[in-house]
Structure formats: C-alpha cells, structure tokens
C-alpha cells in the first residue's frame, strides 16, 4: 500500500532585512533604537565614508530632523576637538623653537590661546548648530537659484540633512597640518552627492549650489591676493628704481 503523496508546503519567504537598504529606507543612525546608539552611529559614519551615494540614498528624506542634526553636532565636535588639539600641540612646539626671551612674551599669548581653545571646545556644539543652519540656508538658496530644488520633495530639510551628514568629513581633521584642507574638500564632495541624491537633481546643479558661495569668497580672496601682488610688485619696482 502506498502512502498518500503529501507535497511539503513551500518554505515561508525569508523575512525582510531589519534595516532595509532601499531608497529612503533609513540609515542605522535613524533607527538607533533597534541597533543601539553607539553601533548605529559608527555604522552610519562608516557608510558615509565607504559609499556616500548609497548612504544618502538610504537616508530618510522627511521627518526626524533630530538624527542628522545630532550626527552633525557629534562629528563636528570631534573635528573641532582634533583641530584644537593640533593647534595646542603645534603652538607649544613652535614656542619651544623661540629664543628664551621671546618665549616668555609669547608664553602669555599661548596661555590665553589655550584658554580660548578650551572655550572653543566647550561652546563648539552651539556654534556647529548655528553654522549648520546658516550654511544650509545659503546652500539651499543657491540650489534654488540654479534650479536644483525644482523637482525636490525634500525642501530645506533635504539640504540640512545633506550638510549634516556631510560633517563626517570632519574626521579628516584627525590628520595633522593638512586635516582642515582634507575636511573641506571631502565636505564639498559629500555635500554634492547628498544634494544630488536627496533633491533628485543633477550633480552639476548640486556642485554649483555648493561652490557658488565659495566662489564669492574666492573672488574676494583673489581680489585681496591681486592687491598683495600689486603691492609687492610696486615695492620691488621702487626698490629697483632707487
């Protein structure tokens, strides 16, 4: 006698991954209740370092502004901390190079500078917060000027989010001497990727929005540099004439 043929029921589909990886699914930091704050923070920072395009694609486009702002304040503070540490280290080593009589006079200045740096470290979170909003307002205005926010549903929030997550670039400040420059260039790249992803705009418009304010500053610096060169040239010419 044959046993009745029972076909085993198909296995249930595997459950979806907890954090998801799709567009706007949320970064680990945005779901830190599930992952734990510290691991979620580190995981998110790693994502932005290794694959910023994928990270910005995963970032939420609306709601929960606390997450990107807190992320920016913590990373910005780490950047300020390292910049201040390098300044203090460099300041003391430069003072050591001076002759003893000059060391005494600059020693007072250095002590004042040290106090200033400590105040800077303590107040940094407030300044980072203010700077984040000012920079976001300027960049968003520039994005509107170049027409990059036309098809966006993220609005100002999207720009704020892009700039906030781009503060991961402040980790460049860990490098002594060139850290500030590394962080600045890295921030430009991250902000461009962030704006292009969160506002669904072209990289051209995103880079224009990021670089336009810098360009205005550069025009001024170019003007200042030109005047300096003219002054030096004038001094050299008058020296040669005498």
């Amino acid at each position: 006698m044959r046993e009745p043929h029972h076909t085993p029921p198909p296995p249930p589909p595997p459950p979806p991954p907890p954090s998801g990886g799709g567009a706007g699914a949320g970064l680990p930091w945005e779901e830190r209740e599930r992952h734990g704050a510290a691991p979620a923070f580190v995981e998110t920072a790693k994502l932005f370092i290794v694959d910023p395009t994928a990270a910005f694609a995963r970032a939420k486009r609306k709601g929960d502004l606390f997450s990107p702002i807190a992320f920016a304040v913590v990373l910005g503070w780490i950047g300020v901390l390292f910049q201040s540490l390098w300044s203090m280290a460099l300041g003391s080593s430069l003072t050591d190079l001076l002759p003893p009589e000059m060391r005494q006079t600059t020693g007072v200045g250095f002590a004042f500078e040290t106090v200033g740096l400590i105040v800077q470290i303590v107040l940094a979170p407030v300044f980072i917060l203010i700077f984040l909003f000012i920079a976001s307002a300027i960049v968003h205005l520039m994005l509107m000027v170049v027409g990059g926010a036309k098809d966006s549903d993220a609005g100002f929030e999207g720009t704020l989010r892009a700039l906030a997550y781009s503060t991961v670039s402040q980790l460049g400040s860990v490098v002594p001497f060139a850290g500030g420059l590394i962080a600045m260039v890295w921030a430009i790249v991250l902000e461009t990727i962030g704006l292009a992803n969160l506002h669904r705009t072209s990289y051209g418009k995103a880079v224009a929005a990021v670089l336009l304010p810098l360009l205005i500053c550069c025009v001024c610096l170019f003007f200042a540099f030109g005047t300096l060169v003219a002054l030096i040239a004038g001094a050299v010419a008058s020296g040669a004439g005498n």
Binding site: L123, F133, I134, M144, V145, G147, G155, C220, L228
Partner: protein, 111 residues
Amino acid sequence: MALLALAPLGAGLARALPACPVKRLTGWPCPGCGTTRAALAWAELDPAAAFAANPLAAAGWALLVAGGLVAGLAACGRHLPGEPRTLPVAGRWALGVALVANWAYLVWAGR
C-alpha cells in the same frame, strides 16, 4: 534658539574672532564684513546699528531667527505655507543686485 542663547555672550566671543583678511590686506571690505557686528547689534536689539553694519547680513540674521521660529511652529504641528522650490528670474536678479549693492554700500561707508 542657539543664537538667542548666545546673544548675551556675543560681545565677549566676538573679541576672539580674527579680523577679515581681505580688509586687512587690501583695506577694502569683503561682502561679509560687518556680519558679526550686525549680529551683535541684533543681540542688543539695535536694528539700526545692525543694518548700518551690513544691511544684507542684518536681514539674513533676522530671517534666520524668523526661520527658527517658523521651524518651531512646524514642530508644534501648526499648518505652514508651502516652501518655494525655485527662485523666479526676477528673484535671482534681485539677489545679485542686492549682493553688489550691499558690497558697494560697505565700500562707500568704509565698514
């Protein structure tokens, strides 16, 4: 809110800020010269002095604080008007003219 919280410390903190390198090198103000003074004047609730220091920056600071208040209202769940997505051509020109006019004023006033 952070700006308002820092307002009483403004004068002390401003002394630690470096002078504008453009102004120091050329003697001419950059478009941002007077921004700190405008913020300090706002902190002392002196709009006339704020606008005299840098009109565009004074307006910018006022808009920033107003924006913060609007964001606060949004957080409270009040209905807010929609955000503009683009700047009309006239707005772009106005922005450019405002930047240049502001700079011209700073040069003229010797800020």
